[in-house]
Amino acid sequence: MLLLQTILSGVLIGLVYALVAVGLTLIFGVMDIVNFAHGEFLMLGMYASFWGFALWKLDPLFTLPLTALLLFGVGAALYRVVIRRITDAPMLSQIFTTFGLMILFRGLAQYFWSPDFRSVEGSVLTGKVAFAGLQFGLPQVVAALGAVATSGAVWWFLRSTRLGAALEATAADKEAAALMGIDAQKMFALAWGLGAACAGVAGALLSTTFPIFPEVGASFILFAFVLVALGGFGSVAGAFWAGILVGVVEVVGGFLWDPAYKLVLVLSLYLLVVWLRPQGLMGKA
């Protein structure tokens, strides 16, 4: 019973990891650019929730749609202002650019909001959910459900809408897509907006349980990269399933062995997959 409880706890946190990675893999899949500043989108989502709560007593759960919109705007604007200029640049320039943005966002957050740990206390999301002898924190359950809903919405959007098809066409061949009347610039901005919104929603969902500080993105970005590679670069479904797998391995490994070694287990799993199946679980060879 305790093991089942642990596995399900792993699934819950894994779903949130998955949402962060879905955003990252979406940007990579469409543009072939690795966004090192992705964790900072999550950080901004957390601070948006925090300030909404601290200034206006608005619960992070209720400001979540606004946080998503805000981060969509941040992502799309970042594309228009910065990323647009490096789409055809050498990979090293792209890495330095997004890495620089990561440092910039952290610095700005420290400057304006101080390096202190903050938290949202007194959210509507408190208490526990009991189910068939198992117990879970309500914030964790809501975060997981929110992450599933958001990932699912992104997946549906990509599969079943005109813009989703246009995005996939641009990812496959932006010049051929342009001949179908698709403006690649708009699609790239859309990908950045959606990617940032995913991370922002994850940040909002985590804001009631996780400390909020300028470097908080670092705790998640490493896992997000692992998931993107594990699931197959650019594969949204792959990142999602990899998220659940990594969450379970992390929590169950920490439970059975020692929490100090959970990162060792996750990264060993990553090495194993990259070794046996370099294209990732759902990537194309």
Partner: protein, 241 residues
């Protein structure tokens, strides 16, 4: 409908096209031929909006369009295919064509309907559900044409759609181009396969080293000594009278 006026495109000091002028009427088939490196694909790239011409003008129904980006050209009714097929390999055949149909049909069900109609027109409908990567080369070329047709163009630019096809497949491609013309769509066809283009072209435009050296009906072009020399080299020129 389309008029190309003194189109010039330079890459650095090299002129890929120089003073290229020709006209395409509604529903006409124009064969664009010339030796390798004559600048045929450069003409296509300028027409499709892939890069702005260095000078000269392109008019669609009198409206100047030179320098517009490809997505604007597509919206104005110019579609093209590539010498080496560029279908969306990760998608199914139907999804590929839907991306084209979505240019004018925003609702997904309408786009599906339009895409299926285009697939029936080109005879690819029974492969609609297959991944595009599983098609044969001839089918992939046909898919690219279908996808372009789904954009409902007025002008279709076909870049060597018959290269590498068997005799039968060339015949099928010729039939398809004629049926496209019958729909009132003008076609500019770059082609090395002469038996494919000669019988169907209303006029031929011959490029050599970036310039138009001949422009006229296929029969006249085939006998034009300038064209013969361009293809076979000076020393093979037929002895003069």
């Amino acid at each position: 409908m389309l008029s190309v006026e003194r189109l010039t495109k330079r890459f650095g000091g090299l002129a890929a096209n120089e003073d290229v002028s020709f006209e395409v009427g509604r529903g006409e088939i124009i064969g664009l031929i010339g030796p390798n490196g004559a600048g045929k694909t450069t003409v296509f790239n300028s027409l499709a909006g892939f890069f702005p011409p260095s000078s000269g003008q392109i008019r669609l129904d009198g409206q100047p369009v030179a320098g517009l980006p490809p997505e604007r050209m597509a919206a104005l009714g110019v579609a093209r295919t590539f010498q080496i097929v560029r279908i969306f390999k990760s998608m199914t055949v139907l999804e590929n064509v839907m991306v084209g149909a979505m240019l004018h049909h925003r609702a997904v069900p309408a786009a599906i309907g339009k895409a299926r109609e285009a697939l029936r027109f080109t005879g690819l409908d029974r492969r609609a559900g297959d991944p595009a990567s599983q098609l044969t080369v001839a089918e992939q070329k046909r898919l690219e044409v279908t996808r372009a047709l789904a954009c409902e163009p007025r002008l279709l630019l076909l870049d060597e759609t018959m290269a590498g096809l068997t005799q039968n497949e060339v015949q099928e491609a010729v039939e398809l181009v004629k049926r496209i013309q019958a729909r009132g769509i003008a076609c500019v066809v770059v082609e090395h396969v002469m038996e494919g283009i000669m019988p169907i072209a209303d006029r031929m435009v011959v490029l050599e080293r970036g310039r138009v050296i001949a422009n006229g009906p296929p029969r006249a072009i085939a006998e034009d000594p300038v064209v013969v020399a361009a293809y076979l080299g000076e020393e093979y020129r037929a002895p003069g009278p």
